[in-house]
Symmetry: C2
C-alpha cells in the first residue's frame, strides 16, 4: 500500500466550502486514505468512495444487506480543506437503513455508505473493519509479516430477476451477466458442484433468505465455486502444516484473517515409520503401498477439519480454501504421489511448483468446490514447509544476512538476503525431538524441558512440561502429581548436555567424565567404566538420566545442523551471519544460548538469535489469506539455490570437525561474551 | 482447408534442376498440398515439410519410433517444375529406419520422413494416413459433414534425460521444458492424476517401453491429462447420445476418427417414468430424488463403456475424451443437476452453454484424466441433442431454407439457413415411438415396420423387423419363425394410417369407416359401433390391429409436429421450405412420403425430404473429433432464436387445424404430384 497523506497535508490545498443545495457539487474527503473529490449532491457515499478508489468493503453491492460498508462522519471545521463537515451534510437514514439498523444492529455513529447520500461537504472516516484489504495485525511470537488480507475466495451477494416467459435466460447466464455488469467479473467458469446447487439456492423459498437472492463464492476472479441462498456472511480457510510427526492447522475467517480455531494431532503415518527415511524404506520394500500412507494423511486432514470446525462451531462445508505446507515426502504423499524416488540419489521431486487441486480430489470432506493449494517445494529435501518459513520470515526482503533453521526430524536451512538465497537440508535425525535418546521422549506433559546444573555440586534444577514450577521450588512435588517426570524432551536434552559441558562433566570431545567428582558416591553421577552417567531424577528404582550414547546422538545432530549452516555460509561467501531464526516446535522452546553452547548454530550476536515458532505453518496461513503471497513465494522459490549436503565433500569435513563442543570450526566470539566456556584443549 | 493447387499448375513456374552435391541447395515439392521450397542438402524430409507448413503427423518428434510420418517419393521427370525426382535424391535408409522397418514394418515404397534426408530435387507424396488433420470420410446414411480430424487430446512421445546430481530438475518441469522446447507447448497445467502416474511411467524399467521414454496426452494444448511409459499409439473417445429411451454411443480412435465399436441400451431411468414429463413429475413428487436418476444414467454410461470397450478390445483407461448430447432433462440429469424447473413455466435451463467436466466427477470409470464435454442446450425444451443435429446437418452453413425435425419422445424442430436459425420443441408424445398405440411397441424384432394396403381389397402387405421378406413373399412364415409378429412400431403405424387414409378407410377427420366394404364379413375389418377397426395380422385369437383411438393418438402427434414447423415458418416469414431432414431413430426408418400423407411435415419437393439417421449422435461424434466443431456449435447455438410453443397462441390454432388428414393448413401441391389424395370435404 502506498503511504497515505495526512489530513494536515491535504488541508494545504483547501478551497472555499460549497453549498449543499440540490444538484450542486459537494466535496467529500475519505480518511485514512485522504482521497477526495467533487460529486453531485445526492451521490451515495459508497459510490463516491468507489469513484475515488477508496477501499470500502461490500458484499451486497449496495443493497443494505451485508453491512460491510459502514462509515463514520467526522464532524467539524477543517479550515485548510475548506470543509465544514456537518451531520446534516449526509442524508438522514431512510427506511432501508433503519431496517438494517433494527435487524442487524448498527452503532449510533455509523452509517451504511451505500445508503447515506452526500448533501454537503463531508469528511468521512472508513474504519478498519470496513476496508476490504485490511492489514493483518501482528501478534505475539507467532509473527506474521505485514500482510494485506486478499484471500482468493471472494463472496458476492446478488439479487436477481426471476426468469419469465419473456426472459428465460438460463440460471448460470443470469448469474454471470450480473457478476459482469455489477462487479466487473468476466469470463468466470462454474464448478460442477456450483451448477448442481445453483438452482436450489436461487429458488430457496420466498423467505428473506432466498427468493432469487444468493451469495456466490468467486475464486481468483476466475471460477464460481460455491453458492448459498440469501446473504452468506463468512467463509473459512484452513492452513495446514503436515509434519513428519504432527499435522497441525489453523482455521481462519477468510474475510478478516482471524484464526477462529487451531488443532493438531500425531501424523498417523507414524505406524509406517518414525521418520521420513523409514517411511520411504517402507515404500521401497512394499511397492504400491504409497496409497496407504496417502490415505492415512487424508484421514488425518479430515479429522483436523472436524476438530477445528467443532471447536469454532463452523460448518465444515463453509471451508472453501486450504493451504498446505510439508516437507517433500509429506507434500508428495498428501498429493497422492509415491515419494520413493526422494530416497534415492539424485533425490528428484516429482513436482516442485506451487500446485492447486480440488479438495474433493484428496477425499477431503469440506465444501465440494474448495481448493487445496500446496506451497512449492525447493529441492528433494527442502519442501513447502521451508517455502512457508521463507514466506513468513521474509529473508528475501531485507538486506540482512539471515540464517533460518527449521528443526524437525531433519533440519532445513536457508541463508541469505534480498540479493540471494541458498537452502539445504541436513540429516540431523530425530535426536532433537527426543528420539534416539535413552530417556528421551516427545514434548508432552512429564517431559523435562528446562535444565540448570550447579557447576560446583552438579545438582540439577529442572522444569517439566505441564508444571510451571522449577524442581527446587516449594510445591513442585504437588505440582507434578498426576504428571510425573517421565523423560527428557528435545529442548531439555539440549540444555542438560550444554549445562554438563559448562560444568565440565562433558569434555569438548563429548566424553562424560567424573572430572574431580567422586562418581562412586555422587548423588547425580553413576560410574560406567571410564565414563559416568548423569542422573537428573530418581523416583524409586526409576532414573531419568543422561548417558554417553545420548551425548553422541546430540553431537551427531548438532554437528549436522552446524555443518549445513557452514556449508551455506561458504557457498554465500560469508564468515558470519547477521541473525539466526530458529523455526519449528523445537525452535519455539529452545533457549538459543544453549544451542550455541553446543555449537549447533554458528556464532552470532545472541540478541539477534531468536525463535520464530511454527514459521512453516505461519507461511501456510499467509498463503491462505493473500493471493499476492502465493505469487511472491512461487517467484522467490524459483530463485532459491539448492545445496545438496549429501554430495558436498566439505559437508563431511565440517561434520567431523563440528562434533566437538561447541565445535572446532567456529571461534564463537559472541558466545564467549555471554558464557564462560571450558578451556579448549590445545 | 484451402483448395490445393494441382501439380500441373505448379509446373507452370518451373526452373532449372539443381545439383545434388553436399552443401548444395535442393528443391522439394510436397503433394497433395503442392507446397515447395529450397533446402540445404541433408535436411530431413520432415524438417522440410514442417518448414513449409506441410501437414505431416509425428508423435515421437522425429525419433523413428511412432512411424506416423511416412512418405512416398514420386520418381520421374517433372519438366515444368524443373525437377527430376529420383530415388537416390533421398538418403538411403540408415540403421534407425532399418530397425523400425524390421520391428514395426514399413511398406517397400515408404520412407520415414524423419530419417530420409534430401540429397537432390524430389517430389514427395504425403499419404492421407500420414496427415495430422486428415479429412473424415463420408459413409452411408450416417453422414458426417466434411470434417478435419482435430481432436482435443494429442499424444506426444518424449525421450528425456535422466536426472543427475548435476541436474535434479523435478520430473514435471523436465517434461514441461521438453514440451515447450520441442513441441512449442507452453504453460501447460498438469492434472493431479498425471502427477500421480508420472514418476512410475518415467521409471518403467530399463526395457524399450520405459527408461525415460514416455507418451503424454495433452488436452487442448493446455493440460497434461495422461502419461504412459514408452510409445502410446492410440487413445480413444466416446460420443454418447443420451436419449429419453435409449443411451447409445460410438467408440472412436481419436487419431483417425474411425468408429471401432458402437453400443446402446435402454435408458435405465425408464423405471422412473416412460417420458420426460413423467420423470420430472416423479421428481416433483419425490424431492431430492434427482440423484437416483443421475446415478441410473451414470451407471448406464459405465455399462456403455464396458460394452464398446469389450467389443473393440480397448482398455477403458485408454478412453480419454467423451462428448455427450441429450435433451435438456437428460443433459441436466447426466450432469447431476435437478431438472425439476424444466417442467414449469418459464422452463429455464440451469445451464445452457457447452460444458466440460472431469469424467471422474461423473463417476465414470475411464481414464482418470478424461474429460466429458456436454454440447450446449438451446432452450428449456431444445437441448444438446438438437445442437448435435445442427452440427451434423449444418443448416447454418448453406443458403437453403432447411427444416430439421428430430423425432423422439418429443419433436425438436430447427428451421433456417446461414442467415438465421429458429428452434422449438413440440409435444408430440411417444405415439411415434409406438407407445399409446393399442398394438404399438418399440422398434424391435417382431414389430411391423412397413405396410402397404390394396385400396380395392384392403389386403395388407407388411414387413416385420428381423425378417427381410414381405408378408406375401414365399417363405415369410418360415422367415418369422422365432420372431413372430408382435405389434406395430412407429414407422409401421405411420404407414398403416397413411395407407388406410389413401384407401378411404380413414376419412380426413380421422374417423375409421367401412366406406363401401362389408365390415361384418370382411377379413380385415371389425365393426365397432359406427366405426371399424382394421386387422393387420391374425394368429389364432391374437390380433394385431389398428383401432380408432390409435388414429387419434397419431393425429395429435403429427399435428403437434406440423404445428411446430408451421410456427417456425411463420416466425421466419416463409410459406415453404427447400428441404426437410428427419432425424432420430424414427426418422431413419420412416418412408418420408407417408409422413407427408399424414400432414406431419409441411409440403416440400419429396426428393428434398430425407432421413438423416441419428444426427444428434453424429453431432456428438463430430464434437469428439474436432475442437473447431465445438467452437462452431457454441457460437451457432448462441444465435439460435427460441420459440416457445407452449405460449404461442398460433400454435394452438395450428394444432386444431392440423388434426385433419393431411391437414387443413397446408395445400400440399408437391404431395399431390406423387399420391392420389382422397377428395377433401367442402
Amino acid at each position: 500500500m502506498p503511504e497515505l497523506p495526512s489530513i494536515e497535508a491535504l488541508e494545504r490545498t483547501g478551497s472555499a466550502p460549497s453549498s449543499g443545495a440540490e444538484g450542486a457539487v459537494v466535496r467529500a474527503v475519505f480518511m485514512p486514505s485522504g482521497r477526495r473529490g467533487e460529486f453531485t449532491c445526492g451521490t451515495t457515499v459508497l459510490a463516491a468512495a468507489r469513484n475515488l478508489g477508496v477501499d470500502i468493503d461490500s458484499v451486497c453491492g449496495g443493497r443494505a444487506v451485508c453491512g460491510r460498508c459502514q462509515v463514520h462522519l467526522s464532524e467539524g471545521e477543517f479550515p485548510k480543506l475548506g470543509i465544514h463537515s456537518r451531520a446534516e451534510h449526509l442524508s438522514a437514514g431512510g427506511a432501508t437503513e433503519a431496517k438494517y439498523r433494527r435487524i442487524k444492529g448498527l452503532a449510533e455513529d455509523r452509517r451504511l455508505s451505500c445508503q447515506a447520500t452526500l448533501l454537503g461537504d463531508v469528511v468521512i472516516d472508513v474504519p478498519a473493519d470496513s476496508q476490504i484489504h485490511r492489514q493483518m495485525v501482528r501478534k505475539g511470537a507467532d509473527q506474521i509479516r505485514d500482510l494485506q488480507i486478499d484471500p482468493l475466495v471472494q463472496l458476492v451477494y446478488l439479487e436477481l430477476d426471476k426468469p419469465s416467459m419473456a426472459d428465460s435466460t438460463c440460471d448460470l447466464t443470469r448469474v454471470l451477466q450480473r457478476l459482469e455488469s455489477e462487479w466487473g467479473l468476466a469470463d468466470l467458469q462454474a464448478d460442477l458442484h456450483f451448477l448442481r446447487t445453483l438452482s436450489a439456492s436461487l429458488r430457496a423459498g420466498e423467505s428473506y433468505a432466498g427468493d432469487w437472492k444468493i451469495t456466490v463464492a468467486v475464486r481468483a476472479r476466475r471460477q464460481l465455486i460455491g453458492v448459498w441462498p440469501g446473504l452468506k456472511e463468512e467463509v473459512y480457510g484452513l492452513a495446514v502444516d503436515i509434519g513428519t510427526t504432527t499435522v497441525a492447522g489453523h482455521l481462519c475467517r477468510l474475510g478478516t484473517g482471524d484464526v477462529v480455531a487451531s488443532g493438531g494431532m500425531m501424523n498417523p503415518q507414524i505406524r509406517f515409520g518414525e521418520d521420513l527415511m523409514s517411511r520411504i524404506s517402507y515404500l521401497q520394500q512394499n511397492e504400491g503401498q504409497a496409497g496407504a500412507l496417502t490415505g492415512a494423511v487424508h484421514k488425518a486432514l479430515n479429522e483436523l477439519v472436524t476438530q477445528v470446525c467443532t471447536e469454532a462451531r463452523v460448518d465444515r462445508r463453509d471451508l472453501v480454501e486450504i493451504t498446505l505446507v510439508g516437507n517433500p515426502t509429506m507434500h508428495h504423499l498428501a498429493l497422492g504421489i509415491d515419494p520413493t524416488q526422494l530416497g534415492m540419489e539424485p533425490f528428484p521431486l516429482v513436482v516442485d511448483r506451487g500446485f492447486t487441486v480440488l479438495a474433493r480430489d484428496l477425499g477431503l470432506d469440506v465444501h465440494p468446490g474448495a481448493h487445496a493449494y500446496f506451497l512449492p517445494c525447493i529441492a528433494g529435501h527442502v519442501g513447502g514447509d521451508t517455502a512457508g518459513v521463507i514466506l513468513s520470515q521474509g529473508p528475501h526482503v531485507g538486506e540482512e544476512m539471515t540464517l533460518i533453521i527449521d528443526v524437525g526430524t531433519n533440519a532445513e536451512l536457508v541463508l541469505g538476503s534480498r540479493n540471494r538465497l541458498i537452502a539445504c537440508s541436513s540429516p540431523t535425525g530425530p535426536a532433537f525431538e527426543g528420539a534416539q535418546i535413552s530417556c528421551g521422549q516427545r514434548a508432552a506433559p512429564g517431559a523435562i524441558e528446562r535444565v540448570r546444573i550447579d557447576p560446583a555440586t552438579l545438582a540439577p534444577r529442572f522444569k517439566v512440561i505441564g508444571c510451571e514450577l522449577w524442581s527446587d521450588d516449594p510445591g513442585f512435588a504437588a505440582g507434578i502429581a498426576g504428571i510425573g517426570v517421565t523423560g527428557i524432551c528435545g529442548s531439555g536434552i539440549i540444555e542438560v548436555v550444554a549445562e554438563l559441558f559448562l560444568a565440565g562433566v562433558i569434555d569438548d570431545t563429548g566424553r562424560m567424565l567424573a572430572k574431580g567428582h567422586d562418581a562412586k558416591n555422587h548423588p547425580h553421577l553413576l560410574p560406567r567404566g571410564r565414563n559416568v552417567e548423569y542422573v537428573l531424577w530418581r523416583e524409586g528404582e526409576r532414573l531419568v538420566k543422561v548417558v554417553p550414547g545420548d551425548i553422541r546422538a546430540i553431537q551427531l545432530a548438532k554437528s549436522a545442523c552446524y555443518s549445513g549452516a557452514k556449508l551455506l555460509m561458504d557457498e554465500m561467501g560469508v564468515s558470519r551471519v547477521d541473525s539466526v531464526l530458529l523455526a519449528g516446535a523445537f525452535g519455539s522452546y529452545i533457549d538459543v544460548k544453549y544451542a550455541m553452547v553446543l555449537g549447533m548454530i554458528p556464532d552470532c550476536d545472541l540478541t539477534r538469535v531468536r525463535s520464530v515458532g511454527n514459521a512453516a505453518g505461519t507461511g501456510a496461513r499467509i498463503a491462505l489469506l493473500s493471493a499476492a503471497a502465493r505469487t511472491e513465494i512461487e517467484s522467490v522459490v524459483r530463485r532459491v539455490e539448492k545445496v545438496e549436503t549429501a554430495i558436498a565433500p566439505r559437508f563431511q569435513d565440517y561434520f567431523v570437525a563440528a562434533m566437538n563442543l561447541p565445535n572446532a570450526v567456529d571461534p564463537f566470539p559472541n558466545l564467549e561474551r555471554v558464557v564462560q566456556l571450558p578451556a579448549r584443549r590445545a
